[in-house]
Every structure is written in structure tokens, then in C-alpha cells.
Amino acid sequence: MLLLAACSTLSAQPQQPAAPSSPWDSAARELVAKLAAAGSVRGNGTLSVQNMGSLDAPTAALIEHSLLVQLSAKGFRFVPPVTGVSGAPPPSALANQPAIDIRVTLSENLNGLIWIAELRTPSGKKIVMLPVAVPPGISANEARPIPLLERTVVWRQAEPMLDFAMVGAAPDSAAQLIVLTPERVAFYNFEQGMWRLGASSAVEHAHPWPRDLRGRIEVESGKLSVYMPGIFCTGTVGAQIGLYCAPGEEKLWPVDGSGLVTGAVSQGGSLARLDPARNYFLDPIQSSNGGEPKFARFYSAGLQTAYGGNLAILAGLDASAQLREGGDEIAARFTGWGSDIASLNDTCAAPSPVLVTGTGDDTSIDTIQIYQIADRQAVAVGQPISFPGPVRSLWAASDGKSARAVSQNLQSGMYEASNLSISCNR
């Protein structure tokens, strides 16, 4: 049970206590109005707020404050409850107990928040209820980035999100956010301080999507490329938005951000074929002794330059990553890695950094850890950043300086698009 001790000072103030506006004020005002309609709240009384839901304690305290402000406006004067050593009011205090006892429970049901207020007065008990929508912009249990790797959430939505791309940067009015979902590409323009949907284009597909659907967006010089299993779309961004999809067109996907290096991953290139009915890439590996080509199956890849050649790191299907230095030889294996990796350019914080997701599954929170590859060894650098749910996709940006991640918040269910960058100054 929360009791707002500090609020006793409010009771000394006339009617409207000065308080900063809270996003919960509107709901608090509505609940108090219902309460006042059920019975008088004018006079001395106690208020207690019990948080039975998933709101965090600071939010519950904020709501309690909002309620007290609204009650004060109705003539309610908060009196702190008098308690004895045992917690119960001492006998001498019973006679002076205030006539109004308001108990508010911040509960949740199937639909979301429901606030329930019990008004106890000498004339009886009244109960009022208010389903409450969470105010825009409020989110619980936000993951906070820690030094080295920084996460900036740029977009949230309830609809599943596969990938996103930013053209320009807000608050530039020409900035554009492009979001890929299983069924469409949505184009958002930055207007009046927020992203507004400008247009969307359906991604038609005749065949069912695989369950672990993957997709990728690339924007290069105003040209938009959208990769989906068995479908490739091209289009334009900016003022003239357009999208054309070619179902059935087998297009090799860029699996790394370091430019579109022609050729298969195992040959130092950055292109690979996604199995359209599965969730992994198939990459032909030419046998060094001229035998039949084999296939590497991997979920993601990162490319790095070393020893005058290219290194390919492939996140395999067996919860480990392979380091390939060309050909079919595996130079090293890194265990305990997740399915998605992204290789970035050198930074002062970590030469040749590789971002790696954690090893949890759909039901757990996730992490992204920076690794540095040196002497065929992977060394964790700094602390991982945590996400409040699984990271659904991770791709390096085309400039190799940052990465973009789509994750799902297990608390809210929302999909979150984040830019990831490595800070050098902490």
C-alpha cells in the first residue's frame, strides 16, 4: 500500500495545489469526477493507492499525486492516517478518524489498466471503476543503454516490424522513416515534431510467409531496395515515393553493411541467398580440392578486412559462429553467440567491432554485446546493452558506422526500431 506522506503538505493549501501537469491527470480527473458523483468527497479524509498491476513505483506515485490534486479541487483535504506501534490506529485516535476514506486500486484486466476507487463514508461504501488508456508516450520499463554501445529508439509500433531505414535525420523536415512490416512498406514524414504516415505500399505475396519472416531495407542515393523471401522490391524515397515488387524474383541479399561487395560471403563478397521457405541463408562454398560445392547455412554474417583479405563471420544454425578466411576452411568457431551479428567499421572504442545478439529465445530479454576479432579470437568489449525483449533483426548500416536493430518489448508487446552506435567518450 502506497501512502503519499508528502501530500500532507497539500492539505494545507487552498483548493488547487500547484503541481506540474502529469500525463495521468486526465484519467485522475475522470475517476475523481465519478467518485464525486457517487458520494461527497468534500472534507477531511485519507487516500491510499494500491498498485496491483505492472506500473512501476514512480508511475504509481505520480498517479497518486494526480488523484490528490483532483480530489483537492473537489474539496477533499488529505489527512495522514494516524497509526500506532502495531500499525493500527491508537484508541485515542479512533474518535478523530476522518469521515472519508478513499482507497484506489491501480488494477489491470484483460484490456489494460482499470482503476477502482472505493469511497467509504459513514453513509456506506461506493465503488467506481475506470478503464484507463495509457497516455501517449508512456512506456514501462524502458531499457537504458549503458556506455560504449548506445541505443536510440526511433520508432515503436504494435504491428510486427522487420526492418527500417532513415533518410535524413529528424527534425529535418525532409527526413523520412521507412518501415518494413510483413505486409507493407510504410513511409513516414517528420512533420510538426513527429512522424506521420505519408504513404504505404503493400508487399503482395502469393505464397505464405515462413514463420520466422525476415526482411531488409536498403536506401542508396534515393533508391529503395526491399528484400523479402522470394520477393524483391525497388522504389524511390523522398518526395516521389514509389515501390515496385517482383514476386518470385530471386535476389541475393546484402548480408553486411560494408558496401555491396559482389560475390558470395565465403568468397569475400557480401551477398547471399535466403532460403525462401526457411529463415537462413544458403551460401555455396567452393571446395578447395575441386569437389562438389557445399553450402554454408547461416542466419547472419559480418565481413572484416584482415591479413590483406576479407574475413567472414557466419552466425550458424548451431548457436555458434564460424570465422572463415576464404574457401571452405573454418578458421575459428565462437560459441555462445546469438543468431544475429553485424560487423562495423573500426572505432576508437573497439577495432573491428562485431555486434552480437544473445542466446535467449523469444520469451526472454536480449542483449547485444560488442566483440572484437583479433588473432582468430573473439573478445567481448565493454558491457552488453540489454533489450526488454528479443532482438528480431540486426543489420549494419551501409556506412558501417552504426547498426539498426528491431526488437520486441515483452512488457508492452511493441516492436521497437533502434539505432545502435558505439560511443568513444565514456
Binding site: 472505493e118 547455412r297 535467449g360 528479443p390
Partner: protein
């Protein structure tokens, strides 16, 4: 934090999509998932009679592997598209129109047709008038005309009674779901294989081998020895199994175990007697000792997670008031309390109630039900919520309790204000003809190699999420 604006009247969703996207450890394809359950299901066909609550429950879960519905429910009980991609109602909510998803393949290799859907829904809902109409753009919609207004029709179409299928040449069910039945030995064993052309995407596992009618002890041994990946576990066994190292997962509770009094010339017809008995029951002890903390004390018909108001119902036993009431029944004949003799949990609960009653000075004899002929004063009854939406769940409970009350209870308005729902819950149990005892969850044992298990929303008709799970160590 949950955030949802409930819009029963809304013309529904186009943007939602059933697909769930995967994660850090991406799922692997392949492998056979070995499942074992206690119920012996004789047929997956809903037209085939099932005897027990457990049989009906498991059959619905199996149907959900094989068949789809027009609409399913999201985690907040809101309708979301499945075989129907959007829907709308005309003013008055008597005439509804559902736009059908195109290119949905059935497990016999032919597309699902609108006529298939019409015939199965008409059979399940004989009072509806259903017609398939082709739109100018070539898509198909289903027009449903109801005998009376129903603002929540999409939610009701998500219930298990509305699975869509057609019948093959041999009368067998042909669905569009992620698995197809490839072997069936009634009451003993079934094989389900992945349906590659499933519109929601092929499942990750190649097949499911289901053993039915397995004793709980055998199921748990198979789980512990790596012979099973998924077993159902009675709630009262779950804690012990967990203590022995089994990986146990539970749902939100969606089954009400209550004491129901028949109408008749018994001591129990005296409201004061029922009140005294209700006050004597220590529900916390039932949850902590009998259920081994797998469940919740029930003092309302519908649980807290669904209504948000269950906490308002009175708490705890009241020894002083109980004894005050019970003193007048010291010489009354003992109450005969019946329970399902095949259910160890019910037996333990019945015996505990008798102990509580005796401490209060009320005599209760417990006896297993053995077919017809028993004249019980009261029975332990398990009732599943038929929907996570509290209005629908409570409406069904009220319908089932109407014979006990002796009156047909008025329908709840739709949409219903939370205050009205709370008031109706309270009035449903205020005369103690039904005494809620505990809410039971579904509990499962999972093998260590099973990944991505997430408990579905209870009572949503979604079944077990076996199309979403994958097996560690399997795959190409």
C-alpha cells in the same frame, strides 16, 4: 504495462497480422516433438461425443493444430485477423461482413473455399444465415445475418466451436492449420505432420507424436528420462515435478473449481447453512497445500487477470462468523459432497473442505460420484472459461448456473461497464448456491530442448503453441 483501448464496436482491423517474428536465437527447423497427455481422445472431430472435461479440452487443443478460425484473439482479447482479414458490421450489429483471406490452401492440396466455411459455420450456428459474396475486386466476403444484435461477433468467432474445416471423401476433417493428421489410433496415439503450405507458415518441427491416455506418473517419467518433450501435468503435481527438476510452465488460471448446490429438500437449501459453509473454507490452504501454489484462491466467478476486480470480493475464512452461523446446524444431517472419483485433485479438495467444515461445527461427508443415482447435496464442479473476455465467460457461467438458481438470468449488456460486470458477478454468488474455491491453470512439463514456448492467452481457443516451438539440436 498493458495498453489497449477496447473497441468492441469498432469496424475491425486490417493492419494486424498473425505472424510472430523471431529472435536472438533464431528457430531451427526439423525434428519430431513427442507429446503425452492424460486424456484419451477418441476423435478429433467435434461431431464425435467426448465424455470428460479433459477430453473436450485436449480435443480443442488438437483441433487448433489442424484447423483455423475466421478470427483469433490477441493477448488482450481483441479480435485479430485469421481466415478473415477484416470485418465490419452494419448499424445495429445484426449483419456482419467478413472479408476472406485469399489463397488459403487446405491440407488436401485444394484451396479452401467460401462454401467450405459457410457449411461448417452454419452447422455450428444453425440460427445464423450465412452467404458468400464475390466482391468486384475478385475477393470474397462472408455475410452473416444474426437473429439478434451481437456487437462481439468477431470475438465469438474465435471460440473453439467455430473452427473451419471441410470433410474429405472419407468424412475426415481437412483443415488449413499448421499440422495435418497423418495417423490416428483412437484414444492412444496420433501423428501430426507439418503442413508445408500453411498460410501462417510451416511449423518449425517436422511432426508431433502424441501419446494419449498416459498416466501422470508415466508422463513425468518420460519427461524426466528424455522420452517426451511436452506433457500435461495436473496443477497439484506440478510443484513436485518442478522440485524434481522438471521444466514446468503454467498458464494464467482459466478453470473455476467451485462447490455447487443442487436444488432440493436438503439442509443445504437453508441460505444460512450455505453461508456458514462458504465462510468456513480456507482457500489459501487449498492453494498452498492441495494445489502446491499452482493456482489462485477464487472468491469471484472470473479471475483477476480477466476482470481486474476480483480483489474486491471478500477475503479469507471468518471463524467467528462461521461458528455463529453454524451453531444452529449442529444437529443437522451431514451434507453429502460429491466429487469426480477419477480426479485426485477434486478428492483432495473435497476432503479439505470437510475438514474446514468440521472445525466450524458443520458435518460434511465426501463421496466419489459413481454414475447416476447419487443424491448429492453439493458437488465439486470444474468449469473452463469459454473466453478470456470476462463478459462472455461470465455469461456462460450464468447460463450453466441457471438451473441451480431456478431462474433464467438476464443477459449482460454488450459492451458492459466494469461496475455492471462486477455487480453481476457479486449477485451470481451472493446466495452461496455456487461457492468459488480456486482458479486452476493449465500446467505443462517441457523438455530442455524445446524452445520458444509461450503460454497462450487462456480460453482463447489458440491451443498449444506447438507450431511456434522448435527443438534444440534438430535441423539441417
Amino acid at each position: 504495462m498493458k495498453h489497449r483501448t477496447f473497441q468492441f464496436l469498432a469496424i475491425a482491423s486490417v493492419g494486424c497480422f498473425a505472424l510472430s517474428l523471431h529472435s536472438a536465437r533464431r528457430p531451427r527447423y526439423g525434428g519430431m516433438l513427442r507429446a503425452e497427455v492424460g486424456a484419451a481422445v477418441l476423435s478429433i472431430d467435434p461431431a464425435f461425443p467426448a465424455d470428460t472435461v479433459d477430453q473436450i479440452n485436449v480435443r480443442e487443443k488438437l483441433l487448433a493444430l489442424v484447423c483455423d478460425r475466421l478470427v483469433t484473439l490477441d493477448e488482450h482479447g481483441q479480435p485479430k485477423p485469421a481466415l478473415a482479414t477484416s470485418w465490419q458490421a452494419t448499424p445495429g450489429n445484426k449483419l456482419w461482413s467478413f472479408r476472406l483471406r485469399s489463397n488459403v490452401m487446405a491440407q488436401d492440396g485444394a484451396p479452401l473455399s467460401a462454401d467450405d466455411i459457410v457449411s461448417v459455420l452454419e452447422a455450428a450456428n444453425p440460427r445464423w444465415r450465412i452467404a458468400a459474396v464475390t466482391n468486384p475486386d475478385g475477393s470474397t466476403k462472408l455475410n452473416i445475418e444474426l437473429p439478434s444484435a451481437d456487437p462481439s461477433l468477431p470475438v465469438e468467432l474465435a471460440m473453439p466451436g467455430n473452427f473451419v474445416f471441410r470433410r474429405g471423401a472419407n468424412g475426415a476433417l481437412v483443415g488449413t492449420g499448421p499440422f495435418q493428421v497423418s495417423g490416428w489410433q483412437a484414444g492412444r496415439q496420433a501423428i501430426f505432420t507439418a503442413f508445408d503450405a500453411a498460410w501462417q507458415g510451416r511449423p518449425f518441427v517436422d511432426s508431433i507424436e502424441l501419446k494419449m491416455g498416459r498416466a501422470v506418473r508415466d508422463r513425468l517419467i518420460d519427461l524426466e528420462t528424455g522420452k517426451a518433450d511436452f506433457v500435461d501435468v495436473p496443477p497439484d503435481e506440478a510443484r513436485r515435478a518442478g522440485d524434481r527438476g522438471a521444466r514446468i510452465r503454467g498458464s494464467l488460471p482459466d478453470e473455476l473449481l467451485s462447490l455447487e448446490f443442487a436444488r432440493g429438500p436438503h439442509t443445504a437449501e437453508d441460505p444460512a447453512f450455505r453461508r456458514a459453509l462458504a465462510l468456513s473454507i480456507d482457500r489459501s490452504a487449498l492453494v498452498n497445500f492441495v494445489l502446491q501454489k499452482q493456482g489462485e484462491a477464487a472468491r469471484s466467478p472470473v479471475p483477476q487477470w480477466s476482470t481486474g476486480t476480483a480483489f474486491l470480493f471478500a477475503a479469507g475464512p471468518d471463524p467467528a462468523q462461521t461458528k455463529q452461523l453454524a451453531v444452529q446446524f449442529q444437529n443437522a444431517p451431514a451434507l453429502l459432497l460429491g466429487y469426480d472419483g477419477a480426479n485426485a485433485l477434486e478428492k483432495a479438495v473435497a476432503e479439505r473442505i470437510a475438514v474446514n467444515a468440521r472445525e466450524a461445527g458443520i458435518r460434511v461427508n465426501v463421496q466419489a460420484e459413481s454414475g447416476a443415482g447419487n443424491a448429492f447435496d453439493a458437488r465439486l464442479v470444474r468449469r473452463k472459461m469459454i473466453s478470456p473476455v470476462p463478459r462472455i465467460a461470465l455469461t456462460e457461467f450464468l447460463r450453466e448456473w441457471a438451473p441451480l438458481e431456478g431462474v433464467e438470468l438476464a443477459a449482460l449488456p454488450d459492451p458492459v461497464m466494469p461496475e455492471d460486470l462486477y455487480a453481476r458477478e457479486r449477485s451470481a454468488i451472493e446466495n452461496d448456491r455456487v461457492i468459488p474455491l480456486v482458479f486452476l491453470p493449465e500446467t505443462f512439463g517441457l523438455s530442455a530442448r524445446m524452445r520458444d514456448w509461450t503460454s497462450p492467452l487462456p480460453a482463447s481457443g489458440d491451443g498449444w503453441p506447438l507450431a511456434q516451438v522448435w527443438l534444440e539440436g534438430e535441423g539441417p
